[in-house]
Structure formats: C-alpha cells, structure tokens
Amino acid sequence: MRDDLLDLARSPLVLLFLTVAGYQAGRWIRTRTGGHALAQPVLVAIAVVGTAITVLDVDYADYRGATELVAFWLGPATVALAVPLHRQTDRLKGFVVPMLVALVLGAVTSIVTAVLIARALGADEALQKTLAPKAATTPVAIAVVDALGGIAPLVAVFTIGIGIVGAVIGPALLNLLHIRDRRARGLAMGAVSHGVGASRMLREDETEGAFAGLAMGLTALITSLLVPLLALVLF
C-alpha cells in the first residue's frame, strides 16, 4: 500500500471512524437479529476494531489516544445513570435494606471467589489481584488494581469482558434462578456486570436499568472500600 494511504488508515480520524462504524454495525446486527442476546454492539465493535488495528499494525496506545473523544463520554454517561433512577424512586420503598445487604454480600462473594478460584487453578498473585475487583465499573477496578499491585490495563479488559458476558446471558440466568422482581434483577446485573450490564437492562425495562445503574454505583463504592480490607486476609 502507498505510504500516504497507510498513514491515513492509521490516522485518528480513521480509527475514530472504525470505532463508531463498528458500533453502528453492531446496532444494525442487533436490529436484524431481532435483539439477539449475542448481538451486543460493544462486542461487535471490539471485534471489528481489534482486527483492524492488528491488520494495520497500530499500537493500542495510539488507538486509545485517538479515541479518547469516545471514551471521555463514559464519565457523563455514568453521571446520567441518576436519571432512570430518579424516575424510579418510588420503587425504592421497602427495598433499601434488602438492596444494601445484597450488594455487600454480593461484592464480598465476587471478590473472594474470583481470587480463590484463580489461585486454585494456579494463577500467580498479580493475576489474582487483577481479577479481584473485576465486577466494579472500569475506572474503579483500574484504581483498585493499581493500589493493590495487579495489572491495571488488564482489569479494564476483564471488567468489560464480564460486562459483555452479563449482557449476553444475564437475563436468561436470572430467569433460571427465578429472580422475578425487576428491582432485584437489575440490582444483580449492575452488581456483577456494571455499565455494560446496565445498558442491556435499560433496553429490557426501565426499572431493571435504573436498579442496575444504582447497583453499579453502590458496588463501585463498596468494592473500593472492601478490596483493601479483604486483601489483608487474602494475600
């Protein structure tokens, strides 16, 4: 390929275009498949972009820099999770205590079992520490792993991966577990699959989405407080 064309292909403009186009392709597939659980736009976009930057031989760091414009909006979107919650506040009545107890127990379970399973199967300590906070939303997980001594950029991959798993199979599993209260369904998904799980729930039902967002926020708080404490026992 001519050098100037290759330069264009590796430019921030094209990388940004591929990101948005990959996401758009994912939305198109989701519509075409009638909202099939596997057709999560984030998954399609990661596959498209991951393949493209590998073929074009673009450093991930350069890609990340070029798409800062997209990643930036995760912050305001997280703030915006207050909106569905506000519209669902009357549903909080009689649910605050079950909610808080469930989220604390869930965070302890998720952190401790991730470390113990990884250890039992021979993962080294850095990897165990990187897996510990993966249920929390990406920025929290990165900060926690940083402080703990794991591999910070890798935990972003784990959290988004487990978020996608939640978006794909979460609702079906909740049916299997006979969790039928929409508040509890949203809560469970937000607690283990953060924003990506919340985005699936928002498409299913506003109550489920609102409680997933709330669970994501509270789990972020709980995880950042609990992991340093649990680390004293675990490591």
């Binding site: 912050g75 909106v83 079950p98 998720s110 929290v140 890798l154 209260d181």
Partner: protein, 124 residues
Amino acid sequence: MIRGLTWLLGFQVLGELVVRVLDVAVPGPVVGMLLLFVVLRLSRYGDDGPIVRAGTALLDHLQLFFVPAGVGIVVYLGLVGEHALPIAAAALGSWLLGLAVVGGTATGLERLLGKPRDDLGDPA
C-alpha cells in the same frame, strides 16, 4: 441538549471535586451520579427536562463508550491465552456466584420482610 450536557458535566466536575477533597478512592462520575440523583429528587425534576433528555441520549449509547478500553484485549491476547483456564473459571465463576447472591439475598429479604414482588407475571 447542550443545556442538559452542561449539567451532566457540571455534576461530574462536582463529583471529581468531592473525591479529591475527601481523598477517597471512588471515581468522580460515581459520586456525581449520587449527587445528581439527590438534586433531581429534591427538585422533583420533570420527565421532559434537559437533564433527562441529554442523560437518556447518552445512556442509549452507553456501550459505545466502553469500546476503546475493551479493544485493549489485543494487547493481552497472549497473556490471557496462556492463563485461559484460571481467568475464565475465576471470572465466570465469581460472576455467577455474585449474580446469584445479590439476586437471591434481595428477593429472600423481601420475602422475610413480607413484601415480595413478582413483576414477570404468571409464566403459565
């Protein structure tokens, strides 16, 4: 749209400010979300206000904003492949247990408090 975005960004700034002043290891946007929730509540904010419209527009495309970080997988394909079993088992196992514990505890406590809900109707 811009009016709503200004408010959302403003609460994110406020969240970052609180996190720095209190020196806690929680992300600013999460604190911003909780603060915005309180304000929306206290002001009995209407369903068609600019914050609701801008917020809903952003949330419709929440998945897009995770793509840049998710693509990081290409850097770690080797490492993840090498430790595929412990990573997959630990991530999926703890995810499943966490999901079951949160869902089960919340619905179990509701039953104990005598206020169980069934939103899905009779599967018949």
